[in-house]
């Protein structure tokens, strides 16, 4: 029987959570704008869907950071 894994260090967890902030926003924008661009190419609607999905990606990433930062602040 293997011993139970030690609980994660709260500081490491906090650092990990904070570091994900840096990825959430560009990733959400890139995915949104990329999908929009592909859809625009498919339907011949450039740049409408690139703009719409890019904006949606930016908004989604921003809201995610807002929620996470609120959660982290309450935790600390």
């Amino acid at each position: 029987m293997t011993p139970a894994a030690p609980p994660p260090d709260p500081r490491s967890r906090f650092l990990g959570d904070v570091l994900t902030f840096g990825w959430v926003l560009p990733a959400a924008i890139a995915v949104g704008a990329g999908l929009g661009w592909l859809a625009d190419k498919l339907f011949g609607t450039l740049p409408i869907l690139t703009i719409a999905l890019g904006l949606a990606g930016a908004a989604g990433g921003f809201l995610q950071i807002y929620r996470e930062s609120g959660r982290l602040m309450k935790g600390s």
Partner: protein, 510 residues
């Protein structure tokens, strides 16, 4: 290109205010706690001198090129108009703060210095014509704001406001910087005139499109437009109330000035691409702001949501980029009376209805919003400045003058005549209608009707509900004077708007 001495005169208001802010910070380290009020008085004097220097700079407009300091700094009446308004907002904020901060347990020395630095950032924003100078000005404003939001550092709400504002503000700056970098990559220039020239000759590329979207997103955060509005209610609720008043007005004025300059002057030729983004955000912002305000019982949060709704209305002006002939807005009379020129700021025909509407509306917005916050500060109940709607119960009997003033500001915010708020909305809605945005104008009118409900909750509390317990008033004449100025402006422009509109029109001339 080295700046001439005449160009340096154009920059004198900003230079003076920066020096004053630094001097006050140094003075704050040596002054006794009991004498800190002197710092506030010196700040007021600094702002008045800066206003006078701004007037001096306005005399140079006709003598110097419209863009000075190697293309970094615009010297036009449009920027001077917004500088005047942000100076007024800063002055009123300091008047609000005299007792509020002075009677707190926090040192007020740095507080006033930070307000001055924020104001300098806003003034540079109003004159920014180069992506680098715009970004640096925006950060100068934002960094001071983060500290001010969390100034009451032993109160959890204030800490939360400061921390949230910092985290989200940093990310919005990142988004803006992404956008500006992509625009630079697509156009090979950082100057707005160069960007305009590049967009005019080439079909917008996907790179440029994404750059424009991200730039818009970064600016949406600054004006608290949906979906980047979530910080506003939290920050307004947690920040010291005078700072909430300042945030609701000053940074928005500067952000709209730079929004208009970037999108009208830089991205104007590509307006067909970005108009949909702004229209979508405007619609969401109006709905989210007004519906969100319906559900609030804390007045500062309600005003936070209300200011989100107002940001949505003002976006209508940005959509009316071009449209009707200049004559519809009286530009012909201005041209024949003062100047034969027909080209105003940003190379647009002056009379550009969108710009004029934004300028008139934001003047009204500044006066009525500062007035409402001033009355919230005047009202002292339960240890906090009149934050709950219930705190206004029976106000008409306890202080009829304050209740009447509050009613005027609420009517103005809702856009009911005869107030400045009505005039501002009239210009905005007319501009949007004439630019063909009928559905958005209908939505704006509907949302104005929704706003009546939550504004009148406060009016009902003041006039129709009996108050409970004793309600004390702070004996602070400075706040009374500041509210009086706002009240006079709101009513005067409501009954006789022509001088206010003419002032905005004249600032659309180069």
């Amino acid at each position: 290109m080295p700046a001439t001495s005449a160009e340096t005169w154009a920059l004198l208001p900003e230079l003076f205010l920066t020096a004053a802010g630094l001097a006050l910070l140094v003075y704050a380290t040596i002054v006794q706690r009991s004498d800190e009020r002197r710092i506030a008085y010196l700040s007021i004097v600094s702002l008045i001198v800066t206003f006078a220097l701004t007037f001096v700079a306005s005399r140079l407009v006709a003598k110097l090129p419209s863009v000075v300091f190697g293309g970094m700094f615009a010297l036009d009446r449009f920027s001077l108009y917004f500088k005047g308004l942000v100076l007024l907002a800063a002055l009123v904020t300091i008047l609000f703060s005299l007792r509020f901060v002075g009677s707190s347990s926090y040192p007020s020395g740095e507080y006033y210095g930070l307000i001055l630095f924020t104001t300098v950032g806003m003034m540079f924003m109003a004159s920014g014509t180069h992506l680098a100078s715009i970004y640096v000005a925006l950060e100068l404003m934002a960094l001071s704001q983060y500290v001010l939001a969390g100034y009451f550092k032993r109160e959890p709400k204030s800490i939360e406001a400061g921390a949230k504002y910092f985290v989200l503000g940093a990310f919005s700056s990142g988004i803006l910087l992404y956008g500006l970098s992509l625009v630079y990559g697509a156009t090979k220039t950082l100057s707005l005139s160069g960007i305009a020239a590049a967009i005019a000759v080439a079909r917008p590329s996907p790179l440029l499109m994404v750059g424009i979207i991200l730039t818009a997103c970064g600016l949406f955060f600054k004006i608290a437009a949906a979906p980047f509005h979530v910080w506003a209610p939290d920050v307004y609720e947690g920040a010291p109330t005078p700072i909430s008043a300042f945030f609701a007005v000053g940074p928005k004025l500067a952000a709209y000035a730079i929004f208009a300059r970037i999108f009208f002057s830089g991205f104007g030729a590509g307006s067909a691409s970005w108009a949909a983004v702004i229209a979508t955000s405007a619609a969401f912002t109006m709905v989210v702001g007004n519906v969100g305000a319906l559900m609030q019982t804390n007045v500062k949060r309600m005003l936070g949501y209300s200011s989100i709704g107002h940001a949505g209305y003002a976006l209508l002006g940005l959509l009316a980029y071009t449209g009707v002939p200049a004559a519809s807005y009286g530009a012909v009379e201005i041209a024949s009376a003062k100047s034969p020129a027909t080209i105003g700021v940003f190379g647009l025909q002056y009379g550009s209805p969108g710009l004029l509407a934004i300028m008139v509306y934001l003047f009204a917005y500044a006066l009525m919003n500062l007035g409402v916050f001033g009355l919230v500060i005047l009202l002292e109940a339960k240890g906090y400045a009149g934050e709950s709607v219930d705190d206004f119960n029976g106000l008409s009997k306890r202080n009829p003058l304050a209740a009447a003033a509050m009613l005027v500001f609420l009517l103005s915010l809702a856009g009911i005549p005869p107030t400045f708020g009505f005039i501002g909305k009239w210009y905005l809605f007319a501009a949007a209608l004439q630019a063909g945005w009928v559905w958005l104008t209908v939505l704006a009118v509907l949302m104005s009707a929704v706003s009546l409900f939550y504004y009148f909750r406060i009016a009902r509390a003041m006039y129709l509900v009996e108050g409970e317990g004793e309600l004390r008033w702070r004996e602070e004449p400075a706040v009374g004077w500041a509210v009086g100025i706002c009240l006079f402006g709101t009513l005067a422009a409501g009954f006789y708007p022509q001088p206010f509109v003419d002032l905005a029109k004249s600032c659309l001339l180069r």
